[in-house]
């Protein structure tokens, strides 16, 4: 049984009487421990797909099974619980709370799990240790570089031991060197057995994952680059920009 099973999922918006199919009859399985990228130009529906997979949004049609739970008809509260326990998010703009320090930011998901303070602190520190950020625990996000902020955000995504991590353009706001380091961190996590979904418009970044799903106009065109299956290729980022697909 796959970790995620999407069957005939559509997301339809109505804009001024016009029907817009952001996702059109998408079916997809993601297995446990997979490192997968969802690639597509802006407006292709990749963000919608990620939102539905990440329990931030509900599909108009179709079924989704996440870790054995059917979630297409889940209540907002059940979706919140799924996001809290089974899903971690990493965003392009880091989305750390500026008023909290790094440790408090990482503790945030556990607050909503009702984990007592002492355990929260211990686990948050462990998660920061894992991304090599333990020495910045008391810093505010504004006192950190972009790469450090993204590491903190990754620690936050991992701290509740989610079944699956979604990274939405995680390197989009970083310089190439830092972006590479962050991608290496994801690869490391993948070798540790994490299920990671990388959402990007950049084929170069998508190239790090063994499995790539291309989205175009709300439909899937799956490609698998077998040469990357070993995950040993040196990643090159910041080369010539990929051809823009309108």
């Amino acid at each position: 049984m796959a970790l995620v099973e999407l069957r005939n999922v559509s997301k339809i918006y109505h804009l001024g009487g016009e029907e817009i199919r952001a996702l059109d009859d998408v079916s997809l399985d993601i297995g446990e421990g997979e490192f997968i990228s969802i690639i597509g130009p802006s407006g292709s529906g990749k963000s919608t797909l990620m939102h539905i997979l990440g329990c931030l949004d509900s599909p108009s049609r179709g079924t989704i099974k996440l870790d054995g739970v059917m979630i297409q008809d889940a209540t907002p509260r059940q979706l919140a619980t799924m996001r809290n326990r089974k899903i971690g998010f990493v965003f392009q703009f880091f989305n750390l709370l500026p008023k909290l320090n790094v440790l408090q930011n990482v503790e945030l998901p556990m607050i909503y799990s009702g984990i007592p303070g002492r355990e929260r602190r211990a686990r948050a520190l462990a998660a920061l240790e894992a991304v090599d950020m333990a020495n910045r625990a008391k810093h505010r996000p504004s006192q950190l570089s972009g790469g450090q902020q993204q590491r903190a955000a990754i620690a936050r995504a991992l701290v509740n031991n989610p079944r699956i991590v979604f990274a939405d353009e995680p390197t989009g706001n970083l310089d190439s060197h830092t972006g590479e380091a962050i991608l290496n961190l994801f690869r490391k996590l993948s070798t540790e057995g994490r299920t990671i979904v990388l959402v990007t418009h950049d084929p170069e970044i998508a190239a790090v994952t063994p499995r790539r799903i291309e989205i175009r106009d709300g439909r899937i065109a799956e490609k698998v680059d077998l040469t990357l299956a070993g995950l040993d290729r040196q990643i090159k980022i910041g080369g010539p920009p990929p051809p823009v697909q309108a």
């Binding site: 421990g33 939102h51 990440g54 931030l56 949004d57 907002p76 509260r77 919140a80 619980t81 996001r83 809290n84 326990r85 998010f89 965003f91 989305n95 750390l96 709370l97 008023k99 945030l108 998901p109 556990m110 607050i111 909503y112 799990s113 009702g114 984990i115 007592p116 303070g117 686990r123 462990a126 998660a127 894992a130 936050r156 991992l158 701290v159 509740n160 031991n161 540790e192 057995g193 994490r194």
Partner: protein
């Protein structure tokens, strides 16, 4: 972090106390982050709470003062029978009206069992002269010895005149402290207490021997102020001049506060035996009173009685036999209506159906006091309530501004697993924390406000801060916080997480 799951999150109950504390802490942090803004927001609640407490304290003080005064004049069981003009439909009978006489007293003693005590009173507009000074007491009355208990008087020095003094119509009197203060000097002025027992005082020129003096009547508050001043004086601390003890009842000294009115009147009393009053001031040519022409007829029976007790000396003298008032005490307040009916029946028969008298019960006054207190409480509460409402609107306003600043934060919180209810509680908690802090500060500042009002207010009833008032005011501030937070909290919690995350 390893992929195996030794620390898989246990299914902990959501909204545990740990989370609740964190929510409150987050609220406090948010308030601390915007100190000035939060302070301004709280100001509405602070003012509302403190004015609620202060208003309640003022009214409680007034209520206590009124109750003290009520007890000082003899309580609710007292009924006064006073003369009144003959009603218009009986005007043609007015020359047959007898007025209230001693005859009524004996008739009531005989026929009105619900009346436990009777005290006839004959008033005189007297000028007291002694020690080279003169004084016009508020009350100079000829009474029976029973008047002592009737009017809640207490003899501090000497004795009250007794039945023998009354029967023999002796020239003795019992004075209140105000008379002493005016004629011989108050303890504050002369430094020691003068007890003028055995001295002679001239009432309208007639010499009387002072055989007793009442104690000094004053409100609880005045008594305590005086006590404090005395203690300070004993410790060698000079009492502050401005706040020095101002004993009610003295004619000329210092500013007078109207709240001690009842006590001041009571201090300004001179009692002489009823028969003495009758013999020395009402008979003969001494007081050619207006009603004397028919007094002979109407007061015939009473005069017989009086004559008997006075030893036959007044038998041939025409005078005014009418009493100024007749004070009655009934067994209990519950029986007041029945007692009044009995009194009415008796007096109707002795007055031959002519209503030249009327009742005055303390209940009317007590009711007036209660109405006044209720109105004061209502209007004060309304004003304080409106100010709390305005404070609540301020909180709501600032919460709405705050959540529109924090759309992204709400999106982030939702993305890491905050449910709608978590956001709702967070915003509500912030609002309640502002209101509660405002409430606490308001309670603290209310004590200062009460002090200030106590100094400024024209009543000498010290405001009383009650625990109930504090609790009610605090509860209202919490309620306002909850009500003001609900709408912003609903608005925040309903934000779509995807749009909230995209919000710049």
């Amino acid at each position: 972090m390893k992929s195996d799951r030794p620390h898989a999150p246990p299914e902990v109950l959501r909204h545990s106390s740990a989370q609740f504390n964190t929510t409150i802490l987050a609220g406090l942090r948010e308030i601390w982050a915007h100190k000035f803004r939060s302070l301004l927001t709280m100001l509405g609640i602070i003012l509302g709470v403190s004015s609620l407490v202060a208003m309640s304290a003022l009214v409680s003080g007034m209520e206590k003062g009124a109750k003290e005064a009520l007890i000082a004049i003899g309580g609710l069981q007292k009924v006064r029978v006073e003369p009144q003009e003959v009603p218009i439909e009986q005007r043609h009978l007015s020359d047959q009206a007898v007025g209230i006489t001693i005859n009524d007293v004996y008739a009531l003693e005989q026929s009105a069992p619900l009346v436990t005590r009777l005290s006839p009173e004959m008033r005189l507009f007297a000028t007291a002269t002694a020690n080279g000074k003169t004084f016009r007491p508020w009350v100079c009355s000829g009474v029976w010895p029973v008047a002592l208990e009737m009017s809640e008087h207490v003899i501090a020095h000497g004795r009250m005149f007794n039945e023998i003094d009354d029967e023999l119509a002796r020239n003795v009197c019992v004075i209140g402290t105000a008379t002493r203060d005016e004629l011989w000097g108050s303890p504050e002025r002369v430094g020691h207490e003068i007890i003028p027992l055995g001295e002679t005082v001239y009432l309208n020129g007639v010499p009387f021997t002072i055989i007793g003096m009442f104690e000094h009547y004053e409100s609880e508050q005045d008594r305590r102020a005086r006590e404090l001043a005395r203690l300070q004086a004993e410790r060698g601390v000079a009492p502050p001049v401005a706040t020095g003890p101002d004993r009610g009842g003295r004619g000329s000294s210092g500013m007078r506060r109207p709240g001690g009115f009842a006590f001041r009147l009571k201090n300004s009393t001179i009692y002489i035996p009823l028969n003495t009053m009758w013999m020395k001031f009402r008979t003969g040519a001494a007081m050619p009173a207006s009603g004397s022409s028919f007094g002979g007829r109407g007061g015939g029976s009473s005069r017989t009685v009086t004559t008997a007790s006075a030893g036959g000396t007044a038998a041939t003298i025409t005078g005014d036999p009418r009493l100024s008032t007749l004070e009655l005490k009934i067994a209990s307040v519950e029986q007041l209506p029945e007692a009044l009916q009995q009194i009415r029946n008796v007096l109707m028969s002795t007055h031959r159906g002519i209503e030249d008298w009327t009742f005055r019960t303390q209940e009317d006054w007590a009711e007036q006091i209660a109405t006044f207190i209720r109105n004061a409480r209502l209007s004060g509460g309304l004003i304080a309530g409106i100010s709390l409402l305005v404070g609540g609107i301020g909180i709501m306003n600032i919460m709405l501004a705050s959540i529109s600043e924090r759309v992204r934060e709400i999106g982030i919180r939702k993305s890491v697993g905050a449910a709608t209810s978590d956001i709702f509680i967070q915003i509500l908690a912030e609002s309640v924390v502002i209101a509660v802090l405002g409430g606490v500060v308001g309670l603290a500042s209310s004590f200062g406000l009460v002090q200030l009002l106590g100094k400024l207010s024209p009543t000498d009833n010290e405001p009383i801060v009650t625990v109930t008032a504090l609790a009610v005011a605090f509860a209202f501030s919490v309620l306002v916080g909850v009500l003001a937070g609900i709408f912003p909290a609903i608005k925040a919690s309903r934000l779509n997480p995807i749009q909230a995350l995209r919000y710049e």
